[in-house]
Structures are given as C-alpha cells and as structure tokens.
C-alpha cells in the first residue's frame, strides 16, 4: 500500500467495516437484479424454465465449492441462499467482503456456464445479483429461514402456475389473469388449476413447487439435513 500524504483516506474505511457477530450462522441470499426483464429478454419458459433452474444450481454449486465454509444452500426463483458455518472466519467476518464476493462468484459462474444450459440463446447482456448477509444464532433459526424461503417459493409458484395457465391456455391477457386471481386463496388456486386446466398442482415437479436444496456430502461435513425444512424433498449433493 502506498504510504503517501494521501494515505490518510484509508482511515475512513473503518467506519463502514462491519463485522458479523462471531459464532453465529451466516446466511447470504443472492437475488437477481431486474430479472423479469432478463428472463423476458432471454425467452425463459414460463412459469418455470428448467434450464434457468439448472443454471442457477450450477452457479450455486460453484459458490458452494469456492467457499469452504458453506455447508448448505437453497435456491428458488431468481434467488439462492448460502449458509456459512458458524465457525467461519472468512474475511474476518467482514460484511461487505462476504456479501460482495459471494454475489460476484455467483454472477461470474452464471455467465460462465450460460451457454451450457442455453446453447441456442446467446446471452445479451451481463446479469447482476445483489446480496445481503444475515446472522442467526442457532441451527433452528437457519432451519426456519429455509422453511420461510420455501413457503415463499410455494406461494409464488402456485400463483405463477395459475397466472400462466390463464394466459397461455386460457387466452387471457396478463391484466385479465391478474384480476381473475385477485383475492383468491390457495385452495381456490388449486381448484382453478384442476377444474379449468386439469392440472393437479401437487403432481407438478417438486423442484418447481419447493425449490432446490444443496447438501454437502463430504466426510466430516456439517450434516446439511440439520437445516432441511420438513417438506423439502429435492436435494442436490455437491461436489
């Protein structure tokens, strides 16, 4: 580091260098930035694009391998969450370093592996993902965190499945589909799918309904199923 009369500016770094609490589980959630535009620009299949999901899983696998301390990960829609073991000293637990390097590795891998999953669709511009880091004191908190994200997956996917059935098979415009679904409850949506489109929601791929859980399977690794929310059946091992 250059030691000039300008080096004083370095001291300003301290005021935004936050350290995450020790001996707590760190969860980093990476989230697509402007992904509705991105999926449209790249003709993603709606409501779920298997290639897109596999690419997200591939990028997550890269992150999980890059950061040794990662002991489990869960993805759905345009988000992925990574758990770092409570003992991690990655970047001395500096918030901005952890948040930025995880989202960077994820984005970088997403672009790197794009062509493997979308061989006939050229990537039109570089996508971005932001991230946040949250500290949880116990395994139970992390388990509940995954249950929360999985409930989010379920609710959004049920809605999207209805919405796109109404648009793609029911011939509605998007605003009409939105109006049709307004105020409906889960059982209304299940009923609509079944009676109008012959879709039994519960038989749809569990990957769509529940997301994907990555579990490290290494001798000595922290048992990822400690975090596994009850209903989650889609488990992807790594490496």
């Amino acid at each position: 580091m250059a030691n000039t009369r300008f080096a004083y500016v370095r001291h300003f770094e301290q005021a935004s260098e936050y350290f995450l609490p020790r001996d707590t589980w760190l969860v980093i959630r990476v989230d697509g930035r402007g992904f509705s535009r991105f999926t449209q620009a790249h003709n993603y299949v709606k409501p779920n694009d298997v290639r897109g999901i596999q690419l997200m899983n591939r990028a997550a696998m890269h992150v999980a391998r890059e950061f040794n301390e990662c002991c489990a990960a869960y993805g759905q829609s345009d988000e992925y969450s990574f758990v770092l073991h409570k003992s991690t000293q990655l970047y001395s637990r500096r918030l901005s370093k952890i948040a930025s390097s995880v989202s960077s590795a994820f984005s970088s891998a997403f672009v790197f592996h794009w062509a493997e999953y979308f061989p006939t669709t050229p990537l039109q511009y570089p996508p971005a993902f932001d991230s946040r880091v949250v500290s949880y004191p116990t395994v139970q908190h992390v388990r509940d965190y995954f249950s929360w994200r999985q409930a989010d997956c379920h609710i959004n996917n049920l809605y999207n499945t209805c919405f796109w059935a109404l648009v793609q098979q029911g011939g509605m415009t998007p605003p009409e589909a939105e109006a049709r679904l307004d105020g409906t409850f889960s059982n209304d949506k299940n009923e609509l799918l079944y009676s109008q489109f012959g879709i039994n929601y519960n038989t749809l791929s569990a990957v769509f309904r529940k997301g994907t859980f990555l579990a490290k399977e290494e001798p000595g690794a922290f048992p990822a199923d400690a975090f596994l929310p009850g209903g989650c059946t889609d488990l992807l091992p790594w490496p």
Copy 2:
C-alpha cells in the same frame, strides 16, 4: 413475501442492514480475488497485459452505465474504484446491497466480455471480485482517495517493471529478482531500469504507470475532473 410462522426470521435482517451516511460521496473499490493465480492460469503478459487492462476498463464501463449515480471511476492492477454521487439513494444506501451489486455487475461483465479481449485464451474458470464501500464527506477526500490509489499504482508498477526485467531479460529467478530489489528506493529502481536494461521508466505507457480514469461526459453530469488527481493524464470517457 410468504407470511408464515417462519417469517419471524426476517426480523434478524435488521441487525446487519447498515446504511451509509447521507450526503456523502460513496467510493466502491472492487478487487480481484486470487488474481495472481488467475493471471498465471491465463498467461497474462508481465508486468502489464494490455488486453487485461482493456477488459477491466470494459467491465468498469458497464458498471458505470448500469449505475446512473456513478460519476467517475479509476482502475489499476486488479482493482477498480467507482464514485457514486453524494445524492445517491441507490438501495437506500444499504451497504451490502451496494457492495454486492457493484461487484456482481463488474464480475458478470468481465466474464461476458472476456472473449473480445482474449479471443485465443479460453476462460478456464469464473473469476471473482470482492468489494468494499467507503463514505467520504467532501470532493477533496475523494480526490485524495484517487491520488492514494494512483500512488499505489506507481509504486507497484515500478517494482513490477524492475522485477520482470530482471527475470525476463536479466535471467534471474523470481527469488533472485526479489532479493535484488529488496531495500531499493524509487531512484534506485529507475537507475536499475535505465543502466541495466536501457528502459526510461517515464516514457513507458502512462496507462501502466498511472492507471485509467473514467470520466462521464454527459450534459449535466458532475464534472469528473473535480476528482482528477493532478498527475493523471489517462482519461477514458464514457459512454
């Protein structure tokens, strides 16, 4: 957001949601993670690889365009710094969101544009960049920040130029070159370059010696030369 009995975990996010001080200039510095391994794996020319520098500039240009609030940027070696205008409300000035989305956009663009600058060198794995955010109260602080990074560029580049001359032209092993340079001052290094290798350091490309400064040239834009450190002559406009 799913409103289940697990949603309580959301409240834990508050404790690691830091807001950067208002009405202050934000500088985000993106930094290559494990870049000596990366440059070796991709046969970068030493001490400076023009293609590598141009790719860094290209990725920085992408960031500068994606984030409207960016009013200047400076790059050297494997780092790039971006200034966001003091009025920015990007992500409500949340630290982790800003740090992560900037490093993500940079990394994503780096991979996206790789083949344009390294057409015959396939990218072997996804590179990553971490970042930090610092808040500076005045333009003068930011100006001094750039002077600090530029001094860092100068010192490292002078060292590297000597080191690689000793190795590539002088036939030394890396440890021998390191030992030769140990304890030398700037004028010793200038002298060594000139007497032993006929290199006049000051005539080397300013891009190598001083780095690259990106200045927004848009009607109404904040005048980037307000930040420009005195010695910097290498100015790249965008878009």
Copy 3:
C-alpha cells in the same frame, strides 16, 4: 486484561463496535427517560419551570467542559444536543463509548447540581437520560439540525402554553384542554392565548419559546455562531 481461556469472549466485542465516520460533525442528543413522570413527581411548574431549565443548562455546561471537543450545545424541554468538532478523535469515534459517556456525564451532573436549583424539593429517585449520536458532513447540516430542534421547541411550547392556560386559568380538565386544541393551527393558538387569557405569546421569555444555546467563548474555539439558527437569541457562554 486477564489472559485466560475465557478471554476469547473479548473478540465478540468487535461486532458491536461501530466507528462514526471521520471528518464529520458529531451531534449527541441526550433525552430524558420518562420525564413526564419525573417532572410530576418533583412538582415542576407548568408549562415551563425556570429552575428545571437552569439545571439542564448547568448539566450541559458540565458536559461541554468535560469534553473538550464540544463546540456548541442546544437545549429545550428535556433534551440537550452537543456538537463535537469534526476533528474529534474522542474514544476513536466509537459510537457506544461516546453516546454512553455523554449521557452519563449529563445525568451525573444533573443529580449533583439538583439541590442548587431545587433547594426545597428533595430528589426522589435517580433520573436517566438516553442518547443517540448522529454524524453530519457539513456545518450547514448542523445549523439545520439546530433549526429543526428549535422549531420543535416552538411548536411544543406553543401547545403547552395553551394547554396549561386552559387547565390552570380556564378551569378545564386535561382531556378537555386536549380536545379544545385538537386540530388548531399556530395562529389559532396565538389567538386563543391573546383573546381568552390576554397572553401575547411573542412576549413570553425567549428561553421558553426558543430554548438555550451554549457557545464556547475561548480564544481559538470554533465560532459557535456558525451553527446558530437564525431566530435563536438566547445564548449562554461557557465556561
């Protein structure tokens, strides 16, 4: 510090040790905890008790002297704000140390000097004050901060003056007085005071209407009137 196998707990301190941004003005606002109960228990004169105001000023003067970096202070109601010069390195600008030591010194002095201002009213229990610290990048921000607190003083004092006139002279119960004032604007309140009670609000003591501003008058001191909000006329020098 004891260097035992328990000393590891010390490392947990880092995660809650926040450093306030350098080269910015620090404003600490001390605020009475449960002061409506406290003023009732000690029979404060309503709406304004001169002894209470003088005691607050006395405690503030103590703080202003204890902390050399303090260059101005402003008080009204049960709150007092202190400005530390932007160059201060007090406690290395650690948030909790600054917040706690200022509120401690203020509270301690308040109890210490109580009997001088309330010689016939024994203090019944130890009062408490909490505090917060805010960082402002320029003198103009601090000036506006004081204007904001002064506007708060004005609005509350106008309301309280009406409220207690209605109760003490108008014979209303507190809920009746509250109902009477509900929805009124400043000019309604001025009018009410004048027509019903013959009080010309603007002739009341400026200390009640505008609060008290402490200005350091020392050779070389930062000129406190740089912060002085326009309307403020009540200036108390220290030491």
Copy 4:
C-alpha cells in the same frame, strides 16, 4: 416532531442507528471514566474500599431494577456488567439507546446514593461511566464472559494487594513497589504477601478477590446461576 424544511436532518440518524442481533444475550459493561483520579480525590481506602464497592453494588441494583430485562449483573473494581435476557426488545435493541441509558442510570444512582456510603466525604464533582454492549449467542458465552471478568478481578486484586502492602506497610515509594513486582507471577505474589506481610491472600474477603454477582430472585426469573462462573461465591440477591 417539528415538520419543517429542516426536518430532513432526521434522515441522517439512520446511518448510526445500529440494532443488536435478535435472540442473543446482551451484556452491557459500564466502566468508570478517569477513576484513579476520582478515587484519589475522594480518599478511597487502598487497595479496596468497602464503601466504594457497596456504592457500586447499590447503583447496579438500581439499574437491575430499572431494566426489567436484566437477569444478572457482576461488578469488580470500577466496572459493572449487566446481562439483558436474549428476548429483550428494549429500545428495539438499538445500540446507542441501550448503552447510554444504562450508563446514565448507573451514574445517576451512583451520585444519588453517594452520601449514604460516604457520609463524611462530600462528592467533589460528578463522576462519569462509559459503556459498551456486546451480543452473545448462548448462555455458555455469557458464563465465560463472567469468568473472564472474574479472572481480571483476581489478577488485578492480587497485584494491588501486593502493591499497597509494599507501599503502606513496606514503606516503598510507588515506583519502587512497581519495580519490585515487575515480572513476578501469581505464586511469587502470594509468597511475598505471606512471607513479608503475613497475609494469606486466600483468606481475604471474597468480595475483594472475586467481585460481586447480583442474581435476580423472583418467581419466574431466568436462573442467574446459569451464568455463575464456578469460583464465584459472593452472590447478592435483588431486590
């Protein structure tokens, strides 16, 4: 709150409003500011002044009662530590509010009760205490925290007991006593006390050697002995 054009300054508060992590134990340590000067100015008995210790305990008792969430406290020398139950939502877990109100209540009570413990020594000036807050994820961490503070008490008290014996009974000057103790280990100090002054360190009051632990004894209260470090025998109940 006054809603004027100056109210914008309020938004600056967010950047220094830190929230302590949820569902973690909060330990606030209050520490005397400049207490060697204070104890000298008030002729404290050396090495331990029982009146001073009792006053500290009295002030701590006040804090423990004021803050319902407090479930245990430990004091030694000029410091006192308070544990808030992990479920506390005091001030929404805001760092500066918690740190400042605890140190304020402690200081205020210290001055308030001074004359009860020092009836013939008038308080000469208002003392101050700063504080810090640390978050610990488990009861075991808090237990270790108390063990750490207790080890600190032991080490300092053994040193001070030797130092003052050498000065008061041995006729040494303070620098001579310091030089005599330099480089000595615990057993050297025990030996010195015994052979030179006939003092068996282990028979000195446990309050001096181990500090004081306050335990809430209320039906339904969190059992304070969960935190109790093994060796601690001096337990003071409250209320």
